[in-house]
Symmetry: C2
Subunit: 194 residues, 2 copies
C-alpha cells in the first residue's frame, strides 16, 4: 500500500480495480482468478500483489467504493429540502443525472449490484427507506404533494431507476442526460394533462 500515493502506482491500482470489475461481471466473483485480472489490466501478478493482498480484498474495496457513493447519491433528495419551489424540478433532474452518470461510469458493478439475488431485496428496501425519509422532509417543506403515499412512492422511484438503468443506460440505448430528462418529466408532474 506504500505505492498508493504515487501517480503511476495510482494508475496501476485503478486499472486493476477496473479490470477486476469487468472480470467479476463477466465471469462471476468465484470463477475470476488473479491471473484473469492482471491479464485484462496488462500488468503482472507481482504488480497485483503490490496493491492488493488478495482477490478478496480487491473485491471488498470495489464494493466499499461503490456503496459509499450509492448511499450518498440515494440521499440526494435532502438537497431539495432548503430550495425555493421553482428550483426543485431542476434539482431533481440534477440528482437523477448524478445517479445515472455514476451507474454509467461503473456499468459492470452496477449490473452486478442491481441484479444480484437475494441480497438485492435488502438493497432495494434500504434505498427505498433513504428515499422515503427525504420525501417526508420534502412534504413538510411543501415541495412534495401532501397526498402522496411516501412508502409506495419511494419504492416506485427505486424500481423505476433500477429498470431504466438496466434497460436503457447499461444497454447504451440512452445517455444519462436523456434518462434524467425523461425520468424527471414523469416524476415531477405525472402523466396527465392538468
Amino acid at each position: 500500500m506504500t505505492r498508493k500515493k504515487s501517480g503511476k502506482g495510482e494508475m496501476s491500482r485503478s486499472r486493476l480495480m477496473q479490470a477486476a470489475a469487468s472480470e467479476f461481471a463477466a465471469n462471476g466473483y468465484h470463477r475470476t482468478k488473479v491471473s484473469d485480472i492482471v491479464r485484462r489490466a496488462g500488468l503482472t501478478q507481482a504488480a497485483f500483489y503490490l496493491y492488493f493482498p488478495s482477490k478478496e480484498m480487491l473485491h471488498q474495496e470495489l464494493m466499499d467504493v461503490f456503496f459509499k457513493k450509492l448511499w450518498e447519491l440515494s440521499d440526494a433528495g435532502r438537497k431539495v429540502t432548503p430550495l425555493k419551489g421553482w428550483e426543485v424540478r431542476g434539482r431533481m433532474r440534477e440528482n437523477l443525472l448524478d445517479l445515472f452518470r455514476f451507474f454509467a461510469e461503473m456499468p459492470e458493478l452496477t449490473a452486478i449490484v442491481l441484479t444480484q439475488a437475494p441480497e438485492g431485496e435488502d438493497l432495494h428496501r434500504k434505498l427505498a427507506q433513504i428515499v422515503a425519509a427525504n420525501l417526508r422532509s420534502n412534504q413538510e417543506a411543501g415541495h412534495v404533494r401532501a397526498d402522496l403515499a411516501v412508502e409506495v412512492t419511494a419504492e416506485s422511484i427505486v424500481a423505476m431507476l433500477y429498470r431504466l438503468t438496466l434497460r436503457f443506460l447499461l444497454t447504451g440505448e440512452k445517455t444519462a442526460e436523456q434518462l434524467a430528462d425523461e425520468a424527471v418529466a414523469l416524476l415531477a408532474f405525472g402523466m396527465l394533462q392538468a
Copy 2:
C-alpha cells in the same frame, strides 16, 4: 374432459388448478408431482386424470389462463382514449385496481411469472410495448402530456407495478384498493406541488 361442464366436475377441476399453482410456486414445476397436487386438492390421482391428461397440460392451461388475462389487463390503457378529460384519472385508478385484484387472486402464479428469469425480461418488454402503444394513443387524444417520453414512461410504469405487487400486494401489506389509490396519485400528477 367430458366432465368439464358439470358443476361438481368444474369445482374439482378448479381445485386441482389452484392446488397445482400453489405447489408449482412452493416447490417449482419440476419438483412438483401429480401426487402432491392431488394431496393438496384433497382428491385422488384418478380424479386428476379425469380432468387433465398430464401435469404438463395442467401447467400449460394455468399459464394460458393467466396470460390471456394479463394481456387484457395490460392493454386497459385503451379504455382511456375515448373518455372526457375529467374521467381519465378515475379510469386509470380502475385499470390499476383490476390489475392488482387479478394479481391478488392468483398470488402464486403472479410470483412465478413476475420473478422468473430470464424469460422475465421478454415479458417485461412485451408489457411495456403494450403500455407504450396506448400511451401514444392517449397523447394524441390529449389525455397524456405531450412532453412525456413514451418508452421510458411505459418501462417505468411496468417496473413500478411489478415492484408494488411483489413488495406490498403479495406480502399482504397493502390491499389492491390501497395500491391503486397510491399508485394513481403518483402516476397521474407526479410528486411536486404544481
